[in-house]
């Protein structure tokens, strides 16, 4: 008995060879993918793989294919690649503006369904076409990694609001919020964060520029180091915010919504073009900043409302404060919503010199 059991257990070790092996030197790891709309409903896919050279530098190689369905692109690209292409390590997916405006659900669904794809994958919309960017050899870590770090640091430390595959799908399926993605642009040999692309369901319909991004992000999350430059009298002041809080109060959510937003933030003054920064000017700067926040955020909220979208998630706040919340009813009355924004700014420091 013992002996047979032992032999049985031993046989188990031979099972390790039974599944398909993927040896890292023998596969091409895709780092970025781009999709563009073509005529007759076709989609053009561009795939980037990093090429590790003998002198330890990294360059990129691209494959391009066109097809009606995005899954067919994968098949065609495999035909052009010497080693099997693996999609488990995709870092960035770019959508050309034309495609983004037609709808991206078919493609994002593929990524969401695939167990090998991570949820931290960055999606972005390109001003122009995606293949323009992916064909260029950008950055010294390969194009995919470069785009990944570019988007990541702007989200983590700057004014770009957080988004990734998971958050996109979250908003897409949420009936009280709409998705948005970073909006990139190729300038010469560099890629620049141009702003934010706003989606209605899966179609891009509007774009925020980098000036509005600060207020947009302020409506959604806490972040540091968001820089904002504004006029105080004849001079310019640049502040960096340190902490941020916001509060949404939605009254009469099911009939005539009144949305009160209170934004509180602490900020440091980093730059001032005038001569002396005395308490009087600091106070002036504070008031000017508050007025800017109130005005700009209100404009943003009204702009979203008029376009029938809700990227900030006003509906989500309304739901938390309303019993028996009805999403369909909310979508109707959201058109009549009125917004009131107030803010409290506290300027705590002004740098190391007086």
């Amino acid at each position: 008995m013992r002996k047979y059991l032992f032999i049985f257990l031993l046989l188990n070790f031979f099972l390790t060879g039974c599944v398909e092996q993927k040896i890292i030197d023998d596969i091409n790891i895709i780092s970025a993918v781009g999709y563009d709309a073509k005529e007759e409903g076709k989609v053009k896919g561009t795939v980037v793989i990093p090429v590790y050279k003998a002198d330890q530098s990294i360059s990129s190689e691209t494959f391009i294919a066109e097809a009606k369905v995005s899954k067919e692109i994968n098949r065609q690209i495999q035909m052009k690649s010497a080693d099997p292409l693996e999609n488990g390590a995709i870092e960035v997916v770019l959508f050309g503006q034309d495609l983004a405006e037609k709808g991206v659900y078919e493609i994002t669904d593929t990524f969401e369904r695939d167990a090998r794809i991570g949820a931290r994958l960055f999606l972005a919309v390109v001003d122009g076409t995606a293949d323009e960017i992916l064909k260029k050899n950008i950055g010294n870590l390969g194009t995919g990694t470069h785009l990944n770090t570019l988007i990541e640091h702007n989200m983590r430390h700057r004014e770009l609001p957080r988004s990734n595959l998971h958050l996109f799908m979250y908003s897409y399926y949420s009936r009280v919020r709409d998705p948005f993605l970073p909006y990139l642009k190729l300038e010469g040999n560099k890629v620049k964060v141009e702003g934010v692309a706003l989606f209605d369901k899966d179609k891009a319909i509007d774009y925020l520029n980098d000036k509005d991004m600060f207020f947009f992000k302020a409506l959604m999350e806490n972040f540091r180091n968001g820089a904002y430059t504004y006029n105080v009298g004849d001079h310019l002041v640049t502040t960096y915010n340190i902490t941020m809080k916001r509060q949404f109060d939605v009254n009469k959510a099911m009939t005539q919504p009144k949305v009160n937003v209170l934004i509180q933030l602490e900020a440091h003054i980093r730059e001032y073009t005038g001569k002396k920064l005395d308490p009087k000017i600091i106070d002036k700067a504070r008031v000017a900043f508050e007025q800017d926040i109130n005005k700009k955020t209100k404009e943003l909220l009204e702009r979203f409302r008029d376009q029938h979208i809700d990227p900030v998630g006003v509906g989500m706040h309304a739901r938390t404060q309303t019993r028996n919340f009805d999403e369909e009813k909310w979508n109707e009355v959201y058109q009549n919503a009125t917004f009131h924004v107030s803010s409290k700014v506290l300027i705590t420091e002004t740098g190391v010199i007086e």
Binding site: N12, A119, R120, M169, Y173, R175, R323
Partner: protein
């Protein structure tokens, strides 16, 4: 009542591990979908309800068994006579086999979808069941050891629940109690499959030293299970939007996709591999209990019974090929289990209380 030799028994506090190990199984990988369908953002309340339910059932189970100091086959024999009692025990044994098939097949499905799509079900089932045979062969003490490992080793995965918090919207939990009690109770019913398995207590009760003292450990074990389920449910409600949660078959695993560690790109692969340690004691305990039951009613040796059961489990798990079939299997097991714990055990409890009251009156 057969006396179990002292050297084959386990200490009362192992009831904690035995109860928790079998309650946390494949269910936790994707129980959120059905709960959310029934009770939306209030699904976590239904887990609390289920927790109360389980405590009551465990209390009843102990009350039934304490009178006999034996296992369920003894209880059946005394209450219903030899033949009906044996038939009832056989039904329980069939249910336990069904439970182990469900656990095994669902785990294999997870491996197929998430890691190795090309894996052969027959080979994989066979190799897991060989390990199960090895463990069950060692008797309840070895199975208990496996249960301890199954609770402690994968416990580190609880920490991965912190990563999704960064992308969570706790607003989703508000407003609390936005669903009717009926909807929440429906969702409570859906929790059943996930917390099934503690009925094996009916079989291993005589193997616990000072079995009465083990009751508090069994309660504690089940309480910690409920805590784990509650934590996972709250985090997933905040992390996913409602419709998204209803779409994801393995929401817990999908949630792990967001974890970012410098040395592992995909934590869910590590989780699925460690999950073998979670499901092994589940299958071992169910098979052990079933074979023990067969031994008692047929008066045969236990080892051939184990082999018989394992072959049965292996054959059935190989015949199920598609997602629909696996889903159906899960539904059936949940239905039967629901009836068993909320229908049969309370019935048995009432029956045995009345039986002993009448008997007590007659003797005085």
């Amino acid at each position: 009542m057969t006396r179990i030799p002292e050297r084959l028994k386990v200490s009362p506090f192992f009831a904690f591990y035995l109860v928790q190990a079998i309650q946390i199984g494949v269910g936790i990988l994707g129980f959120q979908r059905l709960l959310t369908k029934a009770a939306g953002n209030d699904a976590w309340i239904s887990i609390l309800f289920a927790g109360i339910g389980v405590h009551v059932i465990i209390w009843m189970t102990y009350k039934i068994l304490d009178k006999q100091e034996g296992d369920i086959t003894d209880v059946h024999k005394i209450l219903f006579g030899k033949w009906i009692g044996a038939a009832l025990s056989l039904l329980l044994i069939m249910y336990l086999s069904l439970l182990s098939i469900t656990i095994l097949r669902t785990y294999i499905e997870v491996v197929q979808v998430w890691i190795f799509p090309g894996i052969r079900i027959s080979l994989f089932s066979a190799s897991i069941l060989i390990i199960v045979f090895y463990v069950v062969n060692g008797g309840l003490r070895t199975v208990t050891g496996m249960a301890v490992l199954g609770v402690i080793l994968p416990a580190y995965l609880l920490f991965s629940l912190f990563y999704p918090l960064k992308y969570s919207f706790f607003e989703n939990l508000l407003p609390i109690f936005d669903h009717s009690i009926l909807e929440i109770l429906q969702s409570t019913k859906q929790v059943t499959l996930s917390i099934l398995g503690f009925e094996t207590l009916l079989f291993y009760y005589p193997f616990l030293k000072e079995a009465r003292k083990s009751q508090k450990w069994a309660h504690l074990g089940s309480a910690s299970t409920i805590f784990v389920y509650l934590a996972v449910m709250v985090v997933s409600t905040a992390y996913f939007s409602e419709e998204q949660l209803m779409r994801n078959i393995w929401a817990t695993l999908t949630m792990l996709k967001i974890v970012e560690l410098p040395f592992v790109e995909r934590v869910e692969y590590v989780a699925i591999s460690s999950w073998l340690f979670v499901i092994l004691p589940n299958i071992c305990l169910a098979i052990w209990a079933a074979s023990r039951g067969l031994k008692r009613i047929l008066n045969k040796k236990q080892r051939p019974m184990v082999v018989l059961l394992l072959i049965f489990v292996c054959v059935v798990s190989c015949t199920l090929r598609t997602r629909e079939q696996v889903d159906m299997l899960n539904n059936y097991t949940a239905q039967i289990g629901f009836f068993l714990i909320y229908g049969y055990i309370p019935f048995l409890f009432l029956f045995s209380t009345v039986y002993y009251r009448i008997k007590g009156r007659k003797s005085t």
